[in-house]
């Protein structure tokens, strides 16, 4: 009895939470007031109002201060010219460009790809749309058992994004490219992707999106469908971003997501994955390089196994220096009956000096008896023996350190199946390391 009670009782928003939430909501408007998405948006607004936005002492925000992501005004962020070609430039792909959160037709390719329909959220205004069954729906599923109010806020207010429906194997990737041109932009994008049975798509994302960015990506992967996601976050030194991925997987489907993060001051990437069909596979991975006291990066992952014989992997690696902070909160929930689950989770940090901090909360919650789940979290300095070994072969100290750093990140990078994409990211990584040589 008491167990049921404690579950159903929600903490009432405190006065401070209500004030902060109202301030934020007051500074915004609904993303659409007509058309198929209105019902979902109104429901999302009600969710935000009842949950309230994250506050500093919330358990799920124990390691990360939500303030700058929640407050009504977006903190300004200086524009940054990296002076190098965008990461996926060498890849043949369909480019879809958003400037400060607004789709730019002039900079984008025609939204055409065989077996794929791509529409702009802002323009999909009819009363009935396939995306109605997904928009805000996966986000709402992801609110239980842990609340994610910033995602609900996005469902209510997002004005732009893409709706992608994939009915075959897409012959090239779709690349969402973000550009930051206003120092005060506060952007919200909401993307919905539906992969029909047996379909396949690779989604790429890169570029600084806005001074502050709130993004939701909902992905429905039907039976035997395959979804690959590779994204980079970088180039914008004052980035503040809260991103959410909500994915639902059918039988024998595959979901793979990899994120490379550098720079920025506040990044919180949440991934909420549900394995609902038997024999499905979900891999979420990330490599992050943080330099400086300002840097704060948080990976928060929640994987739910609710079918037979599924596999999930969470592989997160962080290289931290000069007082940077990295956070990992990862959970594997194996529901009753999800037998033969194979769950793996690893989160590791390489601390290049004594100043940097890694905070990790790995969790397993298992209600089935025939499963194999493992998790591990470590934090350590660079292996000086190995550095000496390399130097004794003539490799200079900084190259040796870079080699060791890349080696440390390798297990995460190996999660990228496509070799050209993996190489592109490796190059990015190497460049970042080279620029920071002392």
């Amino acid at each position: 009895m008491s167990a049921i009670l404690s579950r159903s009782i929600k903490t009432k928003p405190s006065a401070a939470r209500t004030t902060a939430t109202e301030a934020r909501l007051g500074a915004m408007t609904a993303g659409a007031t007509a058309g198929w998405s209105v019902t979902a948006r109104e429901a999302a607004l009600a969710r935000v109002q009842s949950m309230g936005l994250p506050q500093p002492r919330d358990e799920y925000w124990r390691f990360t201060r939500p303030q700058s992501l929640v407050q009504a005004e977006a903190p300004a962020a200086a524009l940054f010219d990296a002076g190098e070609a965008p990461v996926f430039d060498e890849i043949d792909r369909v480019k879809i460009v958003f400037i400060d959160g607004v789709f730019s037709a002039a900079d984008s390719d025609p939204l055409e790809l065989a077996g794929v329909t791509i529409e702009r959220l802002a323009e999909a205004t009819s009363d009935i749309h396939w995306a109605k069954d997904l928009y805000g729906v996966l986000e709402e599923r992801g609110q239980d058992p842990v609340e994610r109010p910033l995602a609900a806020l996005n469902t209510w207010a997002a004005t732009d994004g893409v709706l992608i429906r994939v009915s075959a194997k897409a012959e090239k990737p779709v690349n969402l490219i973000y550009r930051h041109e206003s120092e005060t932009s506060d952007a919200m994008l909401h993307h919905v992707i539906k992969l029909e049975e047996g379909a396949e798509l690779t989604l790429l994302e890169n570029g600084p999106a806005a001074a502050r960015f709130n993004k939701v990506l909902e992905v429905d992967v039907a039976d035997e469908a395959r979804f690959h996601h590779v994204r980079t976050q970088g180039r914008d030194h004052e980035r503040r971003a809260a991103t959410h991925i909500f994915a639902r997987l059918g039988r024998e489907s595959l979901f793979k997501s990899f994120t490379l993060t550098a720079n920025g001051v506040m990044t919180r990437n949440e991934a909420v994955i549900e394995l609902l069909g038997d024999d499905a596979m979900a891999h979420v991975a990330g490599a992050c390089m943080g330099d400086g006291r300002e840097f704060h990066h948080d990976d928060t992952v929640f994987v739910t196994h609710d079918a037979l014989n599924c596999e999930s992997r969470q592989v997160f690696k962080k290289v931290l220096r000069n007082g940077a902070t990295g956070v990992f909160q990862g959970k594997i929930l194996v529901k009753e009956g999800a037998q033969k689950t194979d769950g793996y989770q690893i989160s590791q940090s390489l601390l290049l000096d004594g100043d940097s901090t890694f905070l990790a909360k790995p969790e397993l919650e298992i209600y089935a008896d025939d499963v194999a789940c493992s998790h591990g979290s470590t934090s350590g300095a660079i292996d000086e023996e190995a550095i000496f070994y390399l130097r004794s072969r003539g490799v200079d100290a900084s190259t040796a350190q870079d080699l060791m750093t890349i080696a440390f990140l390798a297990e995460a990078l190996d999660e990228i199946e496509d070799e050209a994409l993996r190489e592109a990211l490796l190059e990015r990584l190497t460049g970042w390391l080279e620029r920071r040589r002392g």
């Binding site: 000496f388 200079d396 190259t399 080699l403 890349i406 080696a407 440390f408």
Partner: protein
């Protein structure tokens, strides 16, 4: 004047641990001429590995007295990578495993780093591959081993062969082999010795640390030194190694008292 140029000159070298007050080398004098093979034998803990580490620049030691030069240059002031570029190579007693760094990447990075330090051009991919394959083959190191991360999952003997492969690729001036024979089976010992002998020439010196005469049957030393308690207590010809093999160190130690 001796015919061979002095390659390595160590004079009155005193070394203590940086972290604690422990003196390990207590006045080592040793000269290795170009073209010669010097062997060092000596009881466990006498300071042989320490000497090899100090020569190659490992941290954690403090030189309190004495000097060490290679080709007339002061080694002790140099970073490990500078010493390597100058020509020092240490085949480790315990080769280090480096997860995540492929053996090929490692070899190529090392070869090119040294070339760069000497102002030479980088080796082309095809030349590099050809060279590695050829050297690996003679050491019976298969392609699969080359693809694996450095020393990870290698057997003891495989690690030692991998050290010799690196040595063959880097073509150093002074090769220090620290117990390269330990962990090798009889055939591997032959392979490794052949690898070392192939590198013997007028311009190269060797310092071979070993506990056993058997290695010295294959790699014939010109000079044999006995090290005990941080000093060279006796120097002689190849017969000194045979004496140790037969009688152990007791007599030599007593003699040195």
């Amino acid at each position: 004047m001796r015919k061979g140029k002095n390659m390595l000159e160590i004079k009155n070298l005193h070394v203590k641990l940086e972290e604690e007050d422990k003196q390990i080398l207590k006045g080592v004098d040793l000269t290795v001429e170009a073209g010669k093979v010097h062997a060092i034998m000596g009881p466990n803990g006498s300071g042989k590995s320490t000497l090899s580490y100090v020569l190659s620049g490992r941290e954690g030691y403090e030189v309190t007295e004495g000097s060490a030069t290679l080709l007339g240059e002061d080694l002790l002031e140099m970073d490990p990578e500078e010493r390597a570029a100058l020509g020092i190579f240490l085949a480790f007693q315990y080769p280090v495993e480096i997860p995540g760094v492929g053996n090929m990447t490692f070899l190529r990075t090392a070869v090119n780093a040294q070339r760069k330090a000497r102002g030479e051009e980088e080796i082309s991919s095809t030349d590099f591959l050809k060279l590695v394959r050829e050297k690996a083959k003679s050491l019976k190191i298969d392609a699969e081993m080359l693809k694996r991360p450095v020393n990870v999952g290698f057997s003891g003997g495989e690690k030692k062969r991998n050290e010799i492969l690196q040595m063959a690729m880097l073509e150093p001036k002074l090769c220090i082999l620290d117990e390269t024979d330990s962990g090798l089976d009889v055939d591997a010992m032959k392979l490794v010795s052949d690898g070392v002998n192939a590198l013997r020439d007028e311009g190269r010196g060797f310092l071979v640390i070993t506990h056993y005469q058997r290695l010295l049957d294959h790699i014939k030393p010109d000079v044999v030194h006995i090290m005990a308690d941080g000093r060279i207590i006796k120097t002689g010809g190849p017969e000194l190694a045979l004496e140790v093999e037969q009688n152990g160190y007791a007599d030599l130690l007593a003699e040195a008292q």
